[in-house]
Symmetry: C2
Subunit: 366 residues, 2 copies
């Protein structure tokens, strides 16, 4: 039925390099809109009573004009027409919607002025943190900003969390091209667009805010672009909240990645933090290619801190697969740590309460 429907569309459904997504019409409308905006071509099945929501999702995704409705493809009674012309009350279950990939780089090159950028002089980049996971941690300010931009730029899983609506163009990219991504956002803004650059957690804490300002400084032709940063809930706060109150006193936040700084700097900072008896929150403890840092960190900290120092390991906090492990520096197994973990290493006074909560007293003895 797909092939027959596609043939009717009289245009290649997608080109070789494009993405085709087959979507059930039973998906929630917002999810459907988001996925339609994030693919080249699409087939939507399971119509009938879902049709009004499907039509609305197509409209939000800016795909209504090209979407083709196909009824009883390859059967004698087949018929087809633009989705926009369909009478919703007449749609049988055995029908499809075909959304051709336009193959003209619509989503990435020469973006058309979007709903959010009526005035070319109003282009700007707003850098937004989405919080560590659930929408319950996305601030109303961030939601509001996202509802008013014409473009959203970021690492694909974060872009995927932004609800689709009419006029929103998505620019999803990989994880390690922050500067390219930031430059692209600034260029869109210079052309008059309102652009959101999204991060997980707080965009200011190992997020995209720094990358955007770095990219802007590097290109004098982008200095006129207005950049605003919106604060958010960071992963360390989410892990701390789940554990109790481990960062209730003085604390430090470090990335263990040596991708952009030499390990000697990381080591020096670890020693200083351990020696000053600060609680330490650790981002990026490990990646696929960086596998030794957690063990090295543990060894360095043990030179200064008691083996019984409390350690919290939060993994995927805020998501369905969330886990939280409370252990000690001595017992911490570096092999148990992966990219999805954030660690909080306690100070000398951090303790586990009778109820299992990890907390750091506010009082410090001399």
């Amino acid at each position: 039925a797909f092939a027959a429907a596609t043939a009717l569309a009289a245009t290649p459904l997608v080109r070789q390099t494009d993405v085709l997504t087959v979507l059930p019409g039973t998906l929630p409308e917002a999810e459907l809109a988001r996925r339609l905006a994030d693919t080249d071509g699409a087939i939507i099945m399971k119509l009938g009573r879902t049709f009004p929501a499907v039509r609305s999702a197509l409209e939000q995704a800016g795909r209504l004009d090209t979407a083709l409705y196909v009824e009883r493809a390859s059967m004698p009674e087949q018929r087809w027409m633009p989705v926009a012309d369909v009478d919703p009350s007449s749609v049988p279950y055995f029908s499809l919607v075909v959304v051709p990939g336009d193959g003209h780089g619509r989503r990435y090159d020469a973006p058309e002025p979007s709903a959010g950028a009526a005035d070319a002089a109003q282009g700007e980049v707003v850098v937004v943190g989405l919080g560590p996971g659930p929408d319950g941690w996305l601030t109303p300010e961030a939601s509001d900003e996202l509802s008013r931009v014409g473009h959203v730029v970021g690492y694909a899983p974060y872009v995927a969390r932004v609800p689709q609506r009419v006029g929103l163009v998505r620019h999803a990219s990989g994880n390690t091209v922050e500067i390219d991504r930031a430059t692209h956002a600034l260029e869109l803004a210079r052309a008059g667009e309102r652009v959101a650059v999204v991060s997980g957690g707080d965009a200011g804490v190992f997020g995209m805010a720094t990358a955007v300002l770095e990219a802007q400084e590097a290109r004098s032709d982008l200095h006129d672009v207005v950049v605003r940063v919106v604060p958010g809930v960071s992963a360390v706060q989410a892990v701390a909240a789940r554990a109790g109150a481990p960062i209730g006193g003085d604390f430090a936040v470090m990335s263990l990645s040596d991708r952009l700084k030499p390990w000697s700097v990381v080591e020096r900072r670890l020693r200083a933090v351990a020696d000053a008896d600060l609680v330490l929150a650790v981002y990026n403890p490990r990646s696929r290619s960086r596998t030794t840092q957690v063990a090295d960190m543990r060894r360095i900290l043990l030179e200064h801190r008691d083996p019984g120092t409390v350690v919290v390991v939060g993994r995927d906090v805020g998501r369905a697969e969330e886990s939280l492990v409370v252990t000690t520096l001595q017992e911490l197994d570096p092999e148990s740590i992966d990219m999805k973990c954030l660690l909080v290493v306690g100070s000398s006074t951090t303790r586990v309460s009778p109820t299992g909560a990890v907390w750091t007293p506010r009082s410090v003895e001399p």
Copy 2:
């Protein structure tokens, strides 16, 4: 007219230690409800068309049953009746509502079971950060939690930020009784109530989360109470976002208060942070009684850091009177800092971009 109306109420309007608030009926209903829930006695003036909103606010605040409507007090045509019995269409402008303070400790002692605590076994304390200022920084999760508790406990200005509704009992206190406040919340929860303890910013960052866990640990009879912490946006994130991305690399967060830790510990930590070249965010730089710490901090940091080190001073960020000053460690005037300030002292690489943004590059040279 007040006195006449009060005489009609045939009960002392308020006792000597109670609070009487005179409220215009023209206030927004939510604001009216909040203030009615937060005072002992009240007089509401300017009725007429505002009456339905006033009545609704009284109901939300749990004060409708005792509120007395007084029409044309001290005039020949005067009449009075319970507010609940008044025909809204008949209310002239020259009428009043009198809300007697009950003087029986209703709000503080032996609280009645509230709407949020139908099942006595379901009592719990949820510790909630309200964000640094505007409601745009209050997460949906925090809003949701606040909408489901029967009691809200905290420092008065934070309690004041929680919307009033039927069944919500307020327990506002001063700024320096965190442990008493936390214990009171836990006792309410043990009695089956659902209680929110509120902080500004993130409750886990120099907020009430630690105080609640400290109070719980100290009293074995409170160990059974369920305590949950909800993460929020902290002041350091708000200041950082306004400035650009100063905490985009490794950073430390410290309180400069020596109320609970000796200054020698603060000094040792400042030296370690400065020596390790971490960005430093400073909470509680100064209070009315602590006036020397900022100068001391500046002197210590200057022993390790360049005089040109960038310093951001955020004051009242997120509020109407917000200000942000970018200066250097050399130029920082300790006398310009007050209780409402949060400081971010840059690392050796923190800089001001051509657009005026303060940011810390992710890359660190060896």
